[in-house]
């Protein structure tokens, strides 16, 4: 292999085509965006808890969008919009899937790199450009996009309706269009690599669940992201070229607009055709990571490997036919509501199978409580808590009264926000040695986990009650309704937990960045794992293995197999004499 061709600083660290470097680039950019997204949530949580107070921190961060330390309603909506956009797309799609798909697909299937290193590099740099555009929109005079992360028209189409729908929305749409291009290039690369570049003996049925998850995620992405792109394009037409795809019969600020014949409901359909699968694009990679980390640290095979694969595929398939459950009260035909209720509640079945299989994986294990393992257990806990309330929201009749309330916020933050972030942390703690050749500090990891897990439940558990009390989301202040006066105490508690949780992430950041430079040198296989990435040298080399790519003789979950000398055996180890393949 071409291990020795000369690399300059630029080709090694900037325009690198090596999947390991690109994975780190995704991670660092994702962490940077995550810090911004979380800080935004701190600002609007302060506003919700103390709507009438002024804060020095608002003066420092919000410029002319505040008056004497009091936040303006427009910037409040902008903050929730950009918080949602950044967390869902830039952190949990690119940051999570981009990082670990890139790092693990070649290493765990036994390939020297992605199928196309060039496309992989372009994918990252498109993501980088879209991040820059999204961030730059924060500095616009009129503020960034503020129609909610779902950007429903006509609000997102008419600058007369909200200032953020001017240049801010234009930049949002451009940024997302580039993001989608990045995402598609990445996904195509992952699919081709998994299908074509597996090493000798690496049958699909021997793949680690991480790879299965990344592979299926990429397929969902390829199926659904183009639909969001088309939705965005039509919205651009409506905004800039006077078409009426989504707009009709509008009277605003004293004048009738020319639009006629379009429907906002069309946009909702197109948006959620991506928007719902997007939830699974976010959560499936986290599930894959958790399955892998949990099996390794339980020193047990993952329980029900084939059922796990089956449920990933089932979830992926169902995810494309449930989008309407976001639209039960949108005015669409009630019959459609019935259909979408049926398909939505079907998803609960493969999800339940996964949850029970994880719990059974712990049963009679020998749990190694590394930070990655703690986050995996935390993942299962929040996934169950958040997933169960999905039974309320997925049922059209019950959704009517909690739709768009804080109940929804509690539900999706637990099931896809917090859970996916836990999956991401589990991945970072587990594969940090592979990425940087050094170890992270475990004690800081423990502190990070325990504060985060208490704070996250402290934030999102009480939110269910706000929603059940009828409190709508995206309210700049609840003071306009005496009916909600008794909710202000709950909101204060939530904000305090949010600040605690946000502060806990500083521990992680310190641990992460110090460990890159000062961490203890990593051994080759620190967690005694079976998968192929731990057979590569600690120092990164182009092409991953210095000699031949190892051949694979077994699945990746032979932990504590009876009759074997160790409680783990790497996938490239041939079967022992008299051993049967599991």
């Amino acid at each position: 292999m071409s291990n020795h061709h000369k690399q300059t600083f630029i080709t090694k660290y900037v325009f690198s085509t090596d999947h390991k470097m690109i994975s780190k680039q995704f991670l660092i950019t994702g962490i940077f965006m995550g810090v911004i997204g979380v800080m935004m949530s701190m600002l609007f949580r302060l506003q919700i808890a103390w709507p009438e107070d002024s804060f020095g921190i608002f003066k420092a961060f919000l410029g002319h969008h505040q008056d004497g330390g009091v936040m303006s309603p427009d910037i409040y909506l902008a903050l929730v919009t950009i918080h949602g956009t950044i967390m869902v797309f830039f952190v949990l799609t690119a940051g999570l899937s981009g990082t670990f798909s890139n790092l693990l697909i070649p290493l765990q299937i036994g390939a020297r790199d992605m199928a196309s290193g060039l496309i992989n590099m372009i994918s990252y740099w498109l993501f980088f450009i879209s991040s820059v555009i999204m961030i730059s929109s924060l500095f616009l005079e009129a503020g960034p996009a503020s129609a909610g992360w779902t950007i429903y028209p006509p609000l997102s189409a008419l600058p007369q309706a909200i200032p953020g729908s001017g240049m801010g929305m234009t930049l949002w749409l451009i940024s997302m269009a580039i993001f989608i291009a990045s995402s598609l290039l990445g996904a195509l690369n992952y699919i081709v690599t998994v299908l074509n570049l597996r090493t000798v003996g690496m049958k699909m049925t021997r793949l680690p669940l991480t790879i299965w998850a990344f592979f299926i995620t990429a397929i969902i992405g390829v199926v659904s992201f183009p639909v969001l792109l088309s939705a965005a394009l039509l919205l651009i037409f409506d905004r800039s070229f006077g078409t009426s795809f989504y707009l009709s019969d509008i009277f605003i600020q004293g004048e009738v607009l020319h639009y006629q014949g379009g429907s906002p409901v069309l946009f909702e359909h197109l948006f959620w055709f991506l928007g719902h699968p997007e939830v699974y694009i976010v959560i499936l990679p986290a599930m894959g990571i958790v399955s892998e980390v949990m099996a390794c640290n339980s020193r047990k095979p993952i329980f029900g490997y084939r059922a796990m694969i089956g449920s990933i595929i089932a979830i992926a398939f169902l995810s494309t036919i449930v989008w309407g459950h976001h639209m039960f009260v949108s005015g669409m035909n009630p019959f459609l509501g019935s259909v979408f209720t049926f398909t939505t509640l079907l998803i609960a079945i493969p999800s339940a199978v996964k949850a029970f299989n994880w719990i059974t994986t712990l049963w009679k294990g020998n749990l190694q409580m590394n930070p990655a393992m703690l986050f995996s257990i935390g993942f299962v806990s929040t996934f169950i808590t958040g997933g169960l309330t999905g039974i309320v929201l997925g049922d059209s009749a019950l959704d009517i009264n909690v739709h768009d309330t804080y109940f929804v916020i509690a539900h999706f933050h637990l099931v896809m926000g917090v859970s996916a972030i836990y999956g991401m942390f589990a991945g970072i703690y587990h594969w940090f040695p592979k990425m940087y050749g050094r170890m992270m500090n475990k004690t800081l990891g423990y502190w990070h986990f325990w504060i985060t897990v208490v704070a996250a439940y402290g934030v999102f558990f009480p939110m269910h009650f706000l929603g059940l009390a009828g409190l709508p989301r995206r309210y700049y202040s609840n003071t306009a309704f005496p009916l909600f006066d008794d909710l202000s105490d709950i909101n204060k508690v939530i904000t305090m937990f949010a600040i605690l949780g946000g502060a806990a992430q500083l521990i992680f950041l310190a641990n992460f960045f110090i460990s890159i430079y000062k961490g203890k040198k990593a051994p080759q296989n620190p967690w005694h794992a079976n998968t192929l990435e731990w057979t590569t040298p600690v120092e990164h080399i182009h092409g991953n293995w210095s000699g031949e790519i190892p051949a694979v003789h077994r699945w990746s979950y032979d932990y504590s197999k009876p009759g074997l000398p160790e409680d783990y055996v790497t996938q490239d180890t041939p079967l022992f004499e008299g051993e049967e393949e599991s």
Binding site: I162, F303, G337, W363, F465, K520, S560
Partner: protein, 335 residues
């Protein structure tokens, strides 16, 4: 005061950094048997904390929740909701217990070998079939409730009311003596005709525009929703009712009010909630609050989205008729 807070914050951050550096120098990286033990015990404690949090939240926050449904259709909603909630809580209690208990019980010990247990078709069949059966029941019941709420075709002598949304205000229009709403379009909006009612339509003449929603008890109300600018959502939480208002189309929802505003003010749960609210308002030196039904906007619609509301008054039919008689019709207002 704020300055003191910032100083305290600075001190805390300094201590945190100092501690982080100390911890870092310990350079521990892989969990030892001692770590497994500590963390396993912490999971058990966290399990206790988590159950505590759930029980505490239910005990403390139940008072803020909505009172019983004020509409006939909402009764089934409440039953379905109660069944679903019990089911959820049972599953939650069992699975979280197993998760934290296993994390505690099987914390790693040196020399112990984990059980090689990769598969069991029987177990997996159990936890595929049980959720499937339970969910089928829920789906069937849910769909029957949905059907009943959304289908108003067999309503006898329903009252037709249009609810009209705009940034950041609600208006209403009663269909009048003929119980048929006149045509309307934003292109007819002019001066006092704020809802764009088409005055050439004979059905429009007796329509009655209002700024407050009065509803008679015991009669089915069919709401027709319109919006003139962006998406809004008409949310009437006490009636378990919600529907988006979509520019360019008319959406519909219906329910039958069964508890008048007066009666609801005497409801035990309402009294408890209102007492709680008034205690807080008194501390802040604000006027005391009296319960009213509300229609609020529940779809992000712009800067004043948080303050887009309309009062709903449910009253006995006779009283309602008196009120309606007093309102002016479109033809009286315009001509």
């Amino acid at each position: 005061m704020t300055a003191l807070l910032y100083v305290l914050l600075a001190i805390v951050i300094c201590i945190a950094i100092w501690q982080i550096i100390i911890i870092f120098n310990l350079r521990g990286t892989i969990a030892t048997e001692k770590d497994n033990n500590t963390q396993g015990i912490l999971f058990a404690l966290f399990g206790v904390f988590f159950y505590g949090l759930m029980i505490f939240s239910f005990a403390k926050y139940s008072v803020v929740l909505l009172p019983e449904s004020a509409s006939v259709e909402g009764e089934n909603y409440d039953i379905l909701y109660a069944i679903t909630m019990i089911l959820i809580l049972v599953v939650q209690a069992i699975t979280q217990f197993l998760l934290f208990y296993f994390s505690f019980k099987y914390r790693g010990i040196k020399g112990r070998k984990a059980l090689f247990y990769a598969d069991s078709s029987k177990l997996e069949a159990i936890w595929t079939i049980i959720p499937a059966v339970v969910l089928s029941g829920l789906v069937l019941y849910g769909l029957s409730v949905w059907q009943e709420v959304m289908d108003s075709s067999d309503a006898k002598n329903p009252l037709i009311v249009e609810v009209y949304a705009k940034q950041f205000q609600w208006e209403a229009r009663y269909a009048g003596a003929d119980n048929e709403l006149g045509r309307a379009n934003v292109r007819n909006i002019k001066g006092i005709n704020t809802m764009g009612v088409d005055m050439t339509d004979k059905n429009a003449q007796d329509d009655i525009p209002t700024r407050e929603l009065h509803l008679p008890k015991g009669r089915k109300i069919i709401f027709k929703f319109r919006s003139q600018d962006v998406l809004h959502s008409a949310y009437m939480p006490h009636f378990r009712a919600q529907m988006n208002c979509v520019p360019g189309m008319v959406t519909q929802f219906s329910f039958t009010p069964k508890i008048t505003t007066k009666e609801m003010r005497l409801n035990k749960k309402t009294i408890a909630k209102v007492d709680g609210i008034n205690k807080i308002r008194k501390e802040k030196g604000e006027d005391s609050y009296e319960f009213d039904y509300l229609l609020l906007c529940n779809k992000i619609c712009g800067a004043s989205h948080y303050n887009m509301q309309m009062k709903i008054v449910v009253e006995e039919p006779a009283k309602f008729n008196v009120w309606l008689q007093k309102q002016k019709t479109m033809s009286q207002i315009i001509n």
